[in-house]
């Protein structure tokens, strides 16, 4: 059910004429995917997804949509000039995915790993972040710094 909701949300994102509707559909999709993470015993990633993605990035998108969307964009065409080629390429991608799934179906056994205890998930992720992935953690903070600088400079009126 959650996956049906996620896919329906995704469909709504790419087909709505109004950009605000698309943003709201994307929020629905993000929450559905967060629910799927919870089903996969990943509470920390689900929390990060809801707080950062659905709470931060989508609010940013909504702000920019309010800033940028003129009234006339709602009445114009909504698919661009080369949309048959895009659709064809996506169908080719879908066919590729199908063939990969049919070939690799036997590799996935049906029984699942026994569920881990849930109270230590965040702690274990913290251990891994500060242990194995310490370098990537620092680089990610540097990336965020660069992104902040870039966004502020791009949006200034006079540099």
């Amino acid at each position: 059910m959650l996956s049906g909701l996620a896919i329906a949300g995704g469909l709504l994102v790419i087909t709505r004429r109004n950009a605000v509707h698309s943003a709201l559909a994307l929020i629905v999709t993000l929450l559905a995917v967060a629910g799927l993470y919870l089903m996969l015993y990943a509470p920390f990633v689900a929390g990060v997804q809801i707080i950062v993605y659905a709470g931060g990035i989508m609010v940013l998108f909504l702000f920019v949509i309010m800033l940028v969307s003129l009234e006339r964009t709602v009445k114009e065409r909504q698919f661009n000039r080369i949309w048959p080629i895009g659709l064809l390429a996506s169908c080719a991608l879908l066919a590729l995915f199908f063939s990969v799934f049919e070939k690799g179906k036997k590799l996935f056994e049906d029984r699942l790993v026994p569920a881990p205890t849930e109270s230590v998930n965040t702690q274990k992720i913290g251990e891994m972040l500060y242990g194995n992935y310490m370098f990537a953690f620092e680089i990610a903070s540097l990336l965020l710094l660069v992104a902040i600088l870039g966004a502020v400079i791009m949006a200034k009126k006079r540099i």
């Binding site: 995704g10 698309s22 080629i85 949006a155």
Partner: protein, 102 residues
């Protein structure tokens, strides 16, 4: 109903990915193109977390946290570029953003 195996999550992730690709390639509004890119990133995250569950360790989840961080950074910068462009040309259709054409 059958047990929900890893393959089901991979199918959902693939469907979201293809929907995102269709959104990137077909829409005229630049903001919706950026949102479809976020859809693609979410599909990849779902894939990673499903595999992390399958193997029983947490590497996939840590990687997906990094991907969320990266998506936040790229969304911020992309929207900044969009705003800067919109200030000059007053349009958000990808068909009309052709200042570099010969």
């Amino acid at each position: 109903m059958a047990d929900i195996g890893t393959l089901h999550y991979l199918v959902v992730a693939a469907a979201l990915f293809v929907l995102g690709v269709i959104g990137v390639l077909t829409r005229r509004n630049v903001v919706i193109v950026l949102m479809s890119i976020e859809l693609i990133l979410n599909a990849v995250n779902l894939n990673l977390v499903a595999f992390s569950r399958m193997w029983g360790n947490l590497h996939g989840q840590v990687f997906s946290i990094f991907i969320v961080v990266d998506a936040a950074a790229e969304a911020a910068v992309g929207l900044g570029i969009l705003i800067a462009f919109f200030r000059n040309k007053e349009t958000i259709n990808v068909d009309e953003i052709d200042l570099l054409k010969w």
